[in-house]
């Protein structure tokens, strides 16, 4: 999916700055949706006005906690990607058309819109980390686990902030399940120790 971020990667601005401009956010998200749609054989309808609302809300949330990130820039990249995921889920700019040959055990078919939002945020995070810190990102095994996706969808519908913790989980970091909407950087403790999410449902 990385190739679909070419608008950001070929940009004269660093990716971390380009993504904070609506023009690049919208155009790269649009390209990304096309790429995922082609890959997963699904049709999506994109409401660009809702996408701008998600962008605006994310931008405000990003700016409001940026000062806390001065000595923890790497961690803040993941947190910012989580904020982006939260706002995309909240404003829901995508609608997927249903197909009869969907496989409900595939995350991309189980929750197509959520799959795009999460993939986009993880891709942006990976691109920023690679460009700014020369670190290649791995994908956590939970990304393909349908039981985690059940919890992801259910928890984020009940509490939007949990989207931030789920992004941390899918990115292979230790999630902050307690106060996911607050970037914790005091005393050198970036994230509290892992504990199960409050409303994590167990699947039989």
């Amino acid at each position: 999916m990385k190739r679909s971020l070419s608008l950001l990667e070929d940009n004269p601005l660093p990716i971390r700055k380009a993504i904070r401009r609506a023009r690049w956010f919208v155009s790269s998200f649009r390209d990304f949706v096309d790429a995922v749609g082609e890959e997963t054989q699904q049709d999506f309808t994109l409401d660009e006005a809702k996408l701008i609302s998600a962008f605006t809300s994310w931008y405000r949330a990003f700016e409001s906690q940026k000062d806390k990130a001065q000595d923890h820039r790497l961690e803040y990249v993941t947190f910012a990607a989580g904020l982006m995921l939260r706002e995309l889920i909240r404003f829901a700019p995508l609608s997927a058309a249903t197909h009869s040959r969907e496989d409900p055990d595939e995350p991309a078919h189980f929750w197509p819109e959520g799959y795009v939002y999460l993939s986009f945020c993880l891709a942006v995070r990976a691109a920023v980390i690679e460009q700014d810190f020369s670190i290649a990102s791995d994908i956590a095994p939970e990304l393909g686990d349908i039981r985690t996706w059940w919890s992801f969808r259910e928890n984020t519908f009940e509490d939007r902030n949990s989207a931030i913790a789920f992004l941390e989980l899918f990115a292979g970091e230790t999630p902050n399940w307690t106060t996911p909407g607050i970037f914790l950087s005091d005393n050198g403790l970036k994230f509290p120790p892992a504990s199960p999410p409050r409303r994590m449902k167990s699947q039989g």
Binding site: V26, I52, F55
Partner: protein, 225 residues
């Protein structure tokens, strides 16, 4: 045989004449929505024929009333003007009229008249202000850049007060947007400005009596485009 004179292309005329011709065309172009009640009283064959005539006339007139894209160089100078550079009133008016026409078209209100003369007057007011963007936006709203030609009923092509404010807000955000990096079409920038204006209209409105704060706010929002 003598041919009747035809109306010139408004884009080729000086500012007040352009407005005059556009107004005349708006006034003479019969809107299908205004004819509809009368047409419904007629027998079908006659009604169909008249509707066709009205459609042909209307489409031709609207096309000739279309405001021209003044080109990237003029838009760039107008954008720089809002941030403090010198720009001719005619260029600011041309960029303003173009963007407003696009925004009105998106809102389904292409029939409304845009006055480049009003835009030039508003810019004349704003260019000496320490808060150019704010003053220009307020002036466009107060002097009614967009409207109907005198003598026309508002009716179907009426634009509400909030819609007026949002169009001028989108216009100003678009002009303030960074153009130092190319690669994005002006139409896309305008679309983003329109969505952004919808999103921040209430916040901007709440600062309408604080020009210092509002000017900063407009620039901050435009930085996001």
């Amino acid at each position: 045989m003598r041919h009747l004179p035809t109306l010139p292309d408004p884009g080729e005329l000086a500012l007040p004449l352009r407005d005059f011709v556009r107004g005349l065309r708006q006034k003479t172009a019969p809107s299908r929505s205004r004819l509809k009640p009368a047409l419904e009283l007629l027998p079908t064959p006659l009604r169909d024929r008249l509707e066709q005539i009205a459609r042909d006339f209307s489409e031709g007139e609207v096309a000739s009333m279309r405001v021209r894209n003044p080109g990237d160089a003029v838009i760039a100078r107008a954008a720089a003007g809002l941030k403090g550079a010198d720009v001719a009133s005619a260029e600011m008016a041309a960029a303003t009229a173009f963007a407003t026409a696009v925004l009105l078209k998106t809102a389904g209100k292409s029939d409304l008249l845009i006055s480049e003369t009003v835009a030039a007057i508003c810019w004349h007011e704003a260019r000496h202000s320490p808060h150019r963007a704010t003053t220009y936006m307020h002036a466009l709203n107060e002097r009614e850049l967009v409207g109907t030609a005198p003598g026309l009923a508002h009716g179907a092509i009426h634009l509400g007060e909030a819609d007026h404010r949002r169009i001028y807000l989108a216009l100003v955000l678009w002009l303030l947007a960074d153009r130092s990096i190319s690669g994005v079409a002006e139409a896309d920038l305008l679309n983003i400005s329109r969505w952004l204006a919808d999103d921040v209209a209430d916040e901007v409105d709440s600062y309408r009596h604080q020009p210092d704060r509002l000017e900063r706010l407009l620039r901050e929002h435009a930085e996001r485009i």
